[in-house]
Subunit: 492 residues, 2 copies
């Protein structure tokens, strides 16, 4: 049947003014004609010479297009007979034209991905402004020195750094982090326990995958860090919210709820979002519970570097005598969020398993920031930057606390102002934080509602970042917040 059609050329639209080269236009024309059924499997196509004449082009682009169609299998050549649309193509090719509308077949996705919250609900996706959380004072960052290091390592990368590499990260970077953690955070570790990852979220994910199977019960802090909840939801775990009081996670309450949890995810240095520091006795009780129940403790020390009114608080990991704490730290707060470099301190007997999971999730981290951060730490720039920012953020923190007390003292209660780059305020009953936050966006305020931090009965309020707003502008920003609060229907 095919032979009867004897090499009639399909309509190949050629446009000499198009930026697409001719051979590409010819290839595209044939492919479309085949996919739409205008050319049928087994049908002969014109010889390249004839087609070139028909299209009034040179033979070169036609030969190029034919070679590609042959190599892709749309065409086949039969010795002595010429070139044909491959007879082996499926005969029925209806609606191949790129309507791109789906044909209504099943489009079933995973159940586990349906459990995750939609990204649209994340405030910082919609810009930033006063009170934005996890944002650092970028105008204070030593970009000139930083950029010099980038250029150096960019121009002459060490072969060992730039090639495929260790899933744990670069050795010299792990050495530098280890020294920092021992000194500044009283973490007990050696460099072999340190794994570099692309952000704390990845650290949480890897940790959850190593420790937990679907259905395993896990303690989390209530209220807690919503993205830790996401990780555990995504991992299929059974989440047990354990209330936080003014000493941190309430271990006795956890034991009453479910003593046989497999792990506890906690933020002992500066509880997120309430800002409590876990007390020494609570720490020891948590470690005792973990040891007695064969459970794990995951310590997310996300902003341990900044503490204002009291000396710094050492890590939970450092007093763990049974190697049951997985410690997570990050450079996102001290450098800037999009550096995407964090680390895990892994109990020695778990390193191999962590490596296997890390390998499967993303193989190994990019080299460049590892190299640059190593030099940055070794040259003392990291410590100096922390010192400078601690002074600056303390000033901004104090300005925020005073402004809130002076302006909205009757409405907002302040929590956790002793450390970090944010504090939390709670609203009286009857206010809706998410509603207020969405109104605030119109005034350029970046308010993070508190209620999403709760799994059960939420309190309403805001997590207020203070790192990016100069002290002398704080009162203005708080005044704007106050005007917004005044407009609310409030407690009825």
């Amino acid at each position: 049947m095919a032979k009867d059609l004897s090499a009639i050329a399909p309509v190949i639209p050629i446009d000499r003014l198009d930026t697409l080269p001719l051979h590409r236009q010819i290839w595209e024309g044939f492919r479309t004609a085949i996919l739409c059924g205008h050319l049928q499997p087994g049908q002969q196509v014109p010889s390249s010479r004839h087609l070139a004449e028909d299209l009034e082009v040179s033979r070169c682009p036609v030969l190029g297009a034919y070679a590609r169609l042959l190599s892709e299998g749309y065409f086949e050549s039969r010795v002595g007979s010429g070139t044909f649309v491959s007879a082996s193509l499926p005969g029925q090719l209806p609606h191949r034209r790129r309507s791109r509308s789906t044909t209504g077949g099943s489009r079933c996705l995973s159940r586990r991905s349906s459990l995750l919250p939609r990204c649209e609900t994340v405030p910082w996706r919609h810009g930033w402004g006063p009170f934005g959380v996890h944002q650092s004072a970028l105008d204070q960052f030593p970009f000139a020195a930083w950029s010099k290091l980038l250029a150096e390592h960019g121009r002459k990368p060490r072969l060992r750094a730039i090639h495929h590499n260790d899933p744990m990260g670069l050795d010299r970077f792990r050495d530098a982090i280890c020294s920092y953690l021992r000194t500044a955070r009283a973490v007990e570790c050696d460099p072999s326990q340190i794994m570099i990852v692309s952000g704390s979220q990845q650290a949480l994910e890897i940790t959850a995958r190593v420790l937990l199977d679907p259905g395993d019960p896990v303690w989390i802090e209530e209220p807690g860090y919503p993205l830790a909840q996401s990780v555990l939801l995504g991992a299929g775990c059974r989440i047990v919210p354990v209330p936080v009081d003014d000493e941190g996670i309430n271990v006795s309450a956890g034991v009453n709820l479910l003593p046989k949890a497999r792990a506890a995810f906690v933020t002992p240095s500066h509880q997120y979002p309430l800002g409590v520091t876990m007390s020494a006795s609570r720490r020891l009780r948590l470690l005792d519970w973990a040891r007695d129940n064969g459970a794990w403790v995951v310590e997310d020390d996300y902003d341990g570097a900044y503490r204002y009114d009291t000396p710094s608080v050492s890590s939970l990991q450092g007093i763990d005598s049974d190697a049951r704490v997985i410690y997570i730290g990050t450079f996102s707060r001290v450098i800037f969020p999009s550096v995407r470099v964090s680390y895990i301190v892994i109990p020695p007997d778990l390193i191999e398993r962590f490596m296997a999971v890390r390998f499967s999730l993303g193989i190994f981290p990019s080299y460049l920031f590892q190299e640059v951060l190593t030099d940055f730490i070794r040259a003392g720039r990291f410590a100096r930057h922390i010192r400078r920012m601690r002074a600056l953020y303390k000033e901004r923190r104090t300005a925020l606390v005073e402004s809130v007390q002076n302006t909205c003292g009757d409405m907002l209660e302040i929590h956790g102002a002793a450390a970090g780059m944010h504090l939390t305020v709670t609203l009286p009953l009857g206010f809706n934080d998410a509603e207020i936050a969405s109104q605030a966006a119109k005034y350029g305020l970046c308010l993070w509602p508190l209620s999403p931090c709760y799994m059960n009965k939420p309190r309403h309020g805001f997590v207020l970042g203070f790192a990016t707003t100069p002290a002398d502008q704080m009162a203005g920003a708080v005044h704007q917040l106050w005007r917004l609060l005044k407009k609310q229907p409030g407690p009825s």
Copy 2:
């Protein structure tokens, strides 16, 4: 009882020559004494003045240490009575001293992480050399121009780029990739469908998490890419290996094995590891199967940019009329592996779900390489580099093929030399590729055994990278391989 002990000072070892500051030594001394039980809960500690006298230090470091112990909750002060070890600390604190040996309690890890292969088995962890796979000719990379871009974006980062950002990646980078993909790979997409991720492994992980639940059956190519197997194992899927023939994955065989698979993971441009190009008819059959069964197709186009003897092969995604193909591409091959930048082209109705999973797995990608790659592409440097490397790799590929044919033609059969940065050779029956690869490491050869690419009955052979070995050194490297093969017991 505590009062009886009346503020006796514990032994605090002080060393003035130690680099650790005095306040830190004092803090550490008390903390250790408490954790070891040498100081008991409720016990009074000396006043700061007395301790300073005892230790013969100034009062400053003592006050610093006490403040920290108070803020951490190891100490409590009672008005009018002095300072005490907190009464609320657990009484029994045996063996807190950091023996770091675990106490023998259960150390149960997840079952899912136990399924993953150990990292030790990955050849490139142990260095590189001739035949290393996924390694590019770094000496040819334009590091000077690259470094200039790094320094520029490092010194004056765009605020929008460096702050917390879109989980999809930077807009201008997505635009640039979109243009490239439309032109060079005939991918049908617009920038809103493109998600930037940290490497193809992360792309596979995100995709698996969006599409598949534990227990869901999935087709993979047999032999196939071992790290795709890892992702699917980690995701708890039921893996169905479908044989590859000289047209690519055998769709009929897959239908016979398990027609109701939820997805197929394929490498149509240059099958890994055999190097077959999937034929047009096979592509259409695969898409028809997916449409008819409500299944998804994941196209990993890992080295589509390099093709030597025939024109480039367009993507499977480009002929999919039902938006069932998830397309994955990477910069690891063309730039260098540790750049860790890849991308996913997502069907429009799946974008929201991909974002939620990406967010939970690592929030968003680092900004710097996105910015630099955008400029690199826009300035035409990316296309120029691909052109130069295509010529260079073609020469090296040809040298490898000729050397293998001339030297080991009786033993090694060559597969898939038409594209990419590696080819595959198969060994006669009776040879053990993993055994030979481990011997080869001693001679500086980086041999990747073929057998781990199989789930079932493995063939033995090697995946041979040719990108890093100059053409005039290829014969020497192959000769070394030949001598090693000659030494083997071989088929008995």
